[in-house]
Symmetry: C2
Subunit: 204 residues, 2 copies
């Protein structure tokens, strides 16, 4: 981490007591950090899990390429430096959502271990939950819902994760969901079960 450029910043105190937000929200805060190859099912699983939570009365929110790459990070590209800054900013936003009491999903490839570990370090203990969305490259490529693998194989997309750029899987993810072996409902259940087990959401 470089020295912050921001000087002359003084911290003020929130008057909200610990526990007040948790009581209002009905959950403990958490970042569910989905990582995996393009086509592994990150967004699909995030959308389905978000809905499952909301139907249980727990608000949750997804950060993904749709709302971040078109907004906050629209001035970043896909160079290694920009990818790192992309993940750094998303991690900081996740932390803000946690501070607000929410459960937030991050659904980005986030291929570099070091970038994800920095986000983990920024979070209070237990609030960062790394979820490996696991599917073999062949399966992801055969899905190719966005036609990106075809473009990458044709050389039209440089530095495409899994083809021409590395993917560094987490060493010790809190959850591993295998979307090639299990259907969507089962995958959602695995995430929800973990959240119940950890007391982040109440048992149904």
């Amino acid at each position: 981490m470089s020295e912050p450029k921001s000087k002359n910043i003084v911290w003020s105190e929130s008057k909200v007591e610990a526990g007040q937000r948790e009581q209002l929200q009905g959950n403990k805060p958490a970042t569910l950090w989905f990582t995996g190859l393009s086509g592994s099912g990150k967004s699909t699983l995030a959308v389905a899990t978000e809905l499952a939570l909301i139907e249980r009365g727990i608000n949750a929110f997804i950060l993904d390429g749709d709302n971040v790459r078109h907004g906050l990070n629209s001035n970043l590209g896909f160079s290694p430096e920009d990818r790192t800054e992309n993940i750094r900013r998303i991690g900081e936003v996740c932390k803000l959502f946690c501070d607000s009491g929410m459960i937030v999903f991050s659904a980005f490839i986030s291929p570099y271990r070091a970038d994800r570990d920095l986000v983990r370090e920024k979070h209070p203990q237990g609030q960062f939950i790394e979820v490996l969305i696991d599917a073999p490259l062949e399966v992801c490529e055969s899905r190719d819902v966005k036609g990106l693998y075809e473009k990458a194989r044709a050389g039209e997309i440089p530095e495409f994760t899994g083809i021409s750029a590395p993917y560094e899987a987490p060493n010790n993810p809190e959850i591993t969901v295998n979307t090639a072996q299990h259907g969507l409902d089962e995958c959602v259940k695995q995430v929800i079960d973990f959240l119940e087990l950890k007391g982040i959401i109440p048992s149904a």
Copy 2:
């Protein structure tokens, strides 16, 4: 706005229906964008109003120098370009919080009208509420809770808003709160009354 650098981004659909978040949160989403001189009372009023909302059962969250300048925007300084990027990023984060159903406060000087107007344009109609925290420069300077005016007058802080850099007040803020004339409780009431009037929060 420059052309986004992000390419090959496909939009996916959230399965959450309009109204579901509002029902869960008990409020309509809103960005309360506090703008005003250093020492005008932005953070103090935001902290008190956040607490008032939470005590009414409505979750809310503050973005301010404390949690943004030390985190998301720690790689930005105070040059005109960095100030603009600072406000752009904060505006995008506010919009994300609105999309999640929350009421979010932004408590930054945000001296440039054009920067604030860009944030307004990013928000759906009615969700961006500009709150001018109004107090004469002499009053702000006499408070000088952070000792910044003294440093600015001594030339130790360049480009300090109100002293050596301009402050462009909003032309048509949704709310103007005069913190030199009114006590904190009255100022909180003015903001809460507006939120009730607009149906953003239920009447007490």
